[in-house]
């Protein structure tokens, strides 16, 4: 653990990523305290006000207002809740099903393994955004369904990582030893093998965050993600497309937020990977 922290600290990018992630998390958690207004409060008299560095800005709306007169800064702040929330639940979804499927496939092997991995191949063979769009079309566009859709299309990566590391551990002596002592499946795989696979999972989780946020924003952009008035960054950006000339900041700022958060998680993931196990490659 100490080694890990030492290695991690060496990596300036990783530390920066961690700081950004923590900052975003704090903003998300404290949104009601930080945000000057409610994200859905409409100020009818202040439509499409520009941010403070433009002429004609109004000091009470620091980053301006949108087409309905809602404070952009507040919406962006609350938006971090939505995006981080989506990322978090996508990762939870992925880890939950990824562990079950990957562990089953890796530990039992044989036809169980074949069936599960074939299923993952099939998901990978379908164009992911199209699959996500169809899943959303089935369930209806909403935040929860965005999580499910994105979770499904990114699931194969996690299953593969879990299975691969189980297979590596399986060959090691301690597994054979516990088997010869007649240890149960549960004891071997859950108590002994699984903790040794945590490193690649942690890395995968970090990338899962960034993938989840990006995919969810893309769905939002296509109008299939979170529905207005929820301040989801992708949806906000898509709604503002009509004002791209008259109020470009409504397009640029939400996109910038997505970019920064995704970069932060990617930096963190890279750092974790290098520190935990230099050999693990991102799929």
């Amino acid at each position: 653990m100490k080694d890990f922290w030492y290695l991690f600290r060496q990596n300036r990018g990783a530390v920066m990523g961690l700081c950004l992630v923590l900052l975003a998390a704090v903003i998300a958690l404290l949104a009601p305290l930080i945000a000057p207004f409610e994200p859905i409060t409409v100020f009818n008299e202040s439509l499409k006000l520009p941010p403070f560095w433009h002429d004609g800005a109004n000091g009470s709306y620091l980053l301006g207002t949108d087409d309905l007169g809602r404070d952009l800064l507040s919406r962006l702040i609350y938006g971090s809740r939505v995006s981080l929330g989506i990322g978090f639940f996508v990762v939870v979804f992925n880890l939950f099903f990824g562990l079950i499927l990957g562990l089953t496939a890796g530990s039992f092997g044989g036809w169980v393994d074949t069936v599960i991995m074939r299923l993952m191949d099939i998901i990978l063979a379908l164009p992911s955004i199209l699959l996500a769009i169809v899943v959303v079309a089935i369930l209806g566009p909403s935040l929860i369904n965005t999580v499910i859709a994105v979770g499904i299309v990114t699931l194969p990566n996690v299953v593969r990582v879990v299975r691969a590391s189980i297979l590596v551990e399986k060959k090691k002596n301690y597994v054979a030893a516990s088997k010869s002592f007649g240890a149960s499946w549960f004891r071997i795989y859950i108590l002994n093998v699984l903790p040794n696979c945590l490193a690649p999972l942690l890395v995968q989780a970090s990338f899962g965050f960034s993938d989840g946020i990006l995919n969810a924003a893309a769905l939002g952009f296509l109008g299939l993600g979170a529905q207005p008035p929820i301040p989801e960054w992708g949806t906000m950006l898509s709604d503002a497309r009509a004002y791209i000339e008259s109020a470009p900041w409504l397009v640029t700022l939400p996109g910038l937020c997505i970019l920064i958060v995704v970069i932060a998680f990617n930096l963190l993931g890279d750092g974790l990977r290098d520190a935990l196990d230099p050999k693990v490659k991102r799929a």
């Binding site: 990018g13 074939r118 299923l119 191949d121 099939i122 990978l124 063979a125 379908l126 164009p127 992911s128 955004i129 199209l130 699959l131 769009i133 169809v134 899943v135 079309a137 089935i138 960034s210 990006l214 924003a217 893309a218 952009f221 296509l222 992708g234 950006l237 898509s238 497309r241 791209i244 000339e245 470009p248 397009v251 640029t252 939400p254 996109g255 997505i258 970019l259 995704v262 970069i263 990617n266 930096l267 890279d270 490659k281 799929a283």
Partner: protein
């Protein structure tokens, strides 16, 4: 080795069958059917609605519908679009060149720029240049490309007016679609070079947008696999023998570093298709991405099931080819398969 290849080829079949089942079943789970959608506010006499459903085969049990679809597909008949009433295969192939042209250009520039950047970064490890490449590629693969596309449009099309806002070709050039590839067809048109330049101008921004993530991945992958190979014994030996860096990198190291790079190109096909859906939406690009998204909205079952199957086939085939190239080029990996 022959058995290994055959095994790989045979494994494609269950994947494709699975993909067809999933594509078929999922779209039928979407609430609302194409007939209701077609009639819209009008509603319709229940008898007429029943007749229309029967005409599209929607009255049969789903299992029967599936076997009909697969049976016809095996004979090369992918069904007819409910919206346009034209064969899906014709609709697909008339749009596919637009997507292919865009994807090809995107991949081309990402390879042509990404690999040299990766090599240079690896050779000058820890230099300022190296850090810049790392930083830029980090931004690149974190990029929400739908936003990136809009930013480029604001800047280069709306403000500077260098490139057109959307579409494939200025309407003033009358280009007959012989091949479907605008860069070729424009040359063949009466306006020749002028039309070609116009087509190229329309391609620049979409190709940059679609190629952004592949470029970043390519540069990163080239850099890291080259660094790995450079650290291996035989390269060190070569260096110790006094071979100059250039020779070591280009003759010995790069050849081995190409393995992961080729894999990445295979994996990028999926990324490109996803990106194509978004890029085509932003630039009103008349390709298959936009077409399939619209078909989901219209519940055009035949289009979605056949379109998804075509794309699954494409993705699986590209991956198969990448696998086979491995086996062929790198005999030492044969034993592992």
């Amino acid at each position: 080795m022959v058995i290994g290849i055959l095994k790989k080829i045979l494994l494609v079949i269950p994947t494709l069958i699975g993909a067809s089942v999933i594509a078929f079943a999922l779209i039928r789970l979407i609430p609302g059917d194409p007939v209701t959608n077609l009639l819209g506010e009008r509603g319709g006499d229940p008898q007429v609605v029943a007749e229309m459903r029967a005409r599209y085969g929607l009255d049969k049990p789903v299992i029967t519908q599936y076997f009909l679809f697969i049976g016809n597909a095996l004979q090369g008949d992918m069904g007819e679009s409910i919206i346009s009433k034209r064969p899906v295969s014709e609709e697909f192939w008339s749009r596919f060149p637009a997507t292919l042209e865009l994807a090809f250009l995107a991949l081309l520039w990402s390879v042509l720029l990404g690999i040299p950047l990766g090599i240079l970064a690896a050779v000058r490890r820890n230099s300022f240049f190296d850090y810049s490449v790392i930083g830029v590629s980090l931004i690149g693969y974190s990029m929400p490309i739908f936003w990136w596309g809009l930013i480029l449009v604001i800047f280069f099309s709306v403000n500077l007016g260098w490139f057109p806002v959307s579409g494939r070709m200025n309407v003033m050039y009358d280009v007959t679609p012989h091949t479907g590839f605008m860069l070729i067809d424009s040359w063949l048109s009466p306006d020749g070079a002028a039309a070609f330049w116009d087509a190229l101008k329309h391609l620049v921004l979409p190709a940059i947008v679609l190629g952004t993530i592949p470029l970043a991945v390519m540069a990163r992958m080239t850099r890291s696999s080259l660094l790995e190979v450079l650290g291996e014994d035989y390269v060190r030996t070569a260096k110790a023998k006094g071979l100059d860096t250039f020779r070591v990198v280009f003759i010995h190291a790069l050849r081995n570093a190409m393995i992961p790079i080729v894999t990445v190109i295979g994996l990028l096909v999926g990324t490109l298709l996803t990106g194509a859906v978004l890029t085509e939406t932003i630039f009103s690009w008349p390709g298959i991405g936009r077409w399939l998204v619209k078909s989901v909205e219209a519940r055009d079952y035949p289009v979605i099931q056949a379109g998804v199957l075509y794309l699954a086939f494409l993705i699986v085939m590209v991956n198969l080819i990448v696998d086979l190239v491995y086996l062929w080029v790198y005999p030492r990996m044969r034993s592992q398969t």
